[in-house]
Amino acid sequence: MLLLLALLQQIDSTVPVQRGQRLEVSAYAGDIAVKAWERDAVRVEAEPDDRTRVEIDRSGSSVTIRTEGRRGAPRMVDLVITAPSWMPLNLSGVNTHVSIRGARGPISVETVQGEVDVEGGDGLVSLQSVQGSVRLHGAKGRLEVHSVNEAVSVSSSSGEVNAETVNGDVTLTRVDATSLTASSVNGDLGYDGTIRNGGRYLFSTHNGDITITVPEGSNATVSVSTFNGEFASEFPVTLTETRKGRRFSFTLGTGSARMTLESFQGSIELVRPGSSRGARNHDAK
């Protein structure tokens, strides 16, 4: 069933949904803000101009919200959407900032020129921007957080994490990861989270520093590689392997987790919790 909300200056429409359905939003320009509630319904609020319309389409498995332009590309229209917290979200836009609050299901966000700011998410959470920063907070599951030209941050989240950007820093705080990859080309990497027994942690940057906060009692085999950088530690480490060129490793505790720290030309540092050099103080640097 298609509802065309063409000529109204202000849209405020609510449609009922059923468990099992997912929300698809496709925008071009303008913000998408998604909030959660516990009703089994989706509410859309927007103020399109007369050149743009907002289409809401309900089919069997999804509710789709789309902005369409009458002539040419859609104009800027901000969408405020309230959806059930259980509902999987699939949002895409071009010149679109996306923010999500309170979601408790899988999330997928793709934008080109816009920031992504998500609190929540459970299951597969995949956030991607080209020109904007990406921030994820309070999520669990398989977390994929990607930017190209800006910073990426993940906080208070758990699961398997892959945080990547090209030209920006990657900051992970209060993260409880069973496996983690943090990667940049031109940016620093900071981690302040748990180092789980049996976990695997890979930090790789080309031109940037790596700062790892190591909690008390961590058990990890740490392998450090750098071409043109330095290694420093706030606590003593014993080398188990002699320096072979520019890679060496050492053991913390039982050596259970595997941690790989690679910076082509930047410093690699291990700090104690609470250190002023740690990732939690990253923005203050």
């Binding site: 080209v130 190209v148 030209n149 090209v166 031109n186 590689s225 071409f227 790989t260 082509f264």
Partner: protein, 215 residues
């Protein structure tokens, strides 16, 4: 002082005479002081010619060149040059999940297997024995073509950001390649180079997907 022998002294100096001509000339030189003296004089000219020193211009010409090539403004579209790097004979590592292979210059053979990496990384190319990095080259070329044909459909700031980041990755690749060239058995450097190449392919794919989406 022009005798038939003098005319051939230069060719003699340059080794352009046949065996018999050379023998005849050397026999003549043994008995002709004038020719021997001329030969010595020609040798001195050669020595001075070869030791001429190059010196740069009195005034620095760079700013004129920079203006003419439009340095500072991005006029050139990206041209990537993996073939150049390969031609320079650089050892290259290719990753597939769980293992690393090292290709050494001058051979298409899979050489040694290094320590497996802690986490699987997505393969960047399908490497058949002997195929070298052709899979990577071809992928880069295809993606560049898609991007070149379609970039007019993208916003100019998006194009600029993509180009800047592709150039950033290229610089990283070049630095990694230089490091590998100086230390070709270093596992980290090889894997870092390969990983950075993967980042480039990934970004090209992402850019190409953007172009396709806006058509």
């Amino acid at each position: 002082m022009s005798d038939q022998w003098t005319e051939r002294l230069s060719e003699y100096l340059d080794g352009d005479l046949t065996e018999s001509e050379r023998a005849a000339l050397e026999a003549h030189l043994a008995s002709c002081a004038a020719c021997a003296e001329t030969l010595a004089g020609l040798r001195r000219v050669l020595v001075r010619a070869r030791s001429l020193e190059d010196r740069p211009p009195v005034r620095d010409l760079w700013s004129g060149i920079a203006t003419r090539i439009g340095a500072g403004s991005r006029q050139r579209r990206f041209t990537f040059s993996m073939p150049q790097l390969l031609a320079a004979g650089i050892a290259l590592a290719l990753l597939s999940a769980g293992g690393a292979w090292l290709l050494h210059p001058g051979s298409n053979q899979v050489a040694t297997e290094a320590a497996p990496l802690p986490l699987a990384r997505a393969p960047i190319a399908t490497v058949a024995a002997g195929a070298g990095v052709r899979g990577y080259d071809a992928a880069v070329e295809d993606l560049e073509r898609v991007l070149a044909e379609g970039r007019g459909r993208l916003d100019t700031t998006t194009v600029r950001v993509l180009e800047q980041n592709l150039a950033l990755i290229d610089r990283a690749i070049a630095q990694a390649q230089r490091a590998v060239a100086a230390d070709s058995a270093n596992v980290y450097l090889n894997s870092h180079l390969a990983e950075t190449m993967r980042r480039k392919i990934d970004l090209l794919r992402q850019a190409a997907a953007l172009v396709s989406a806006v058509s």
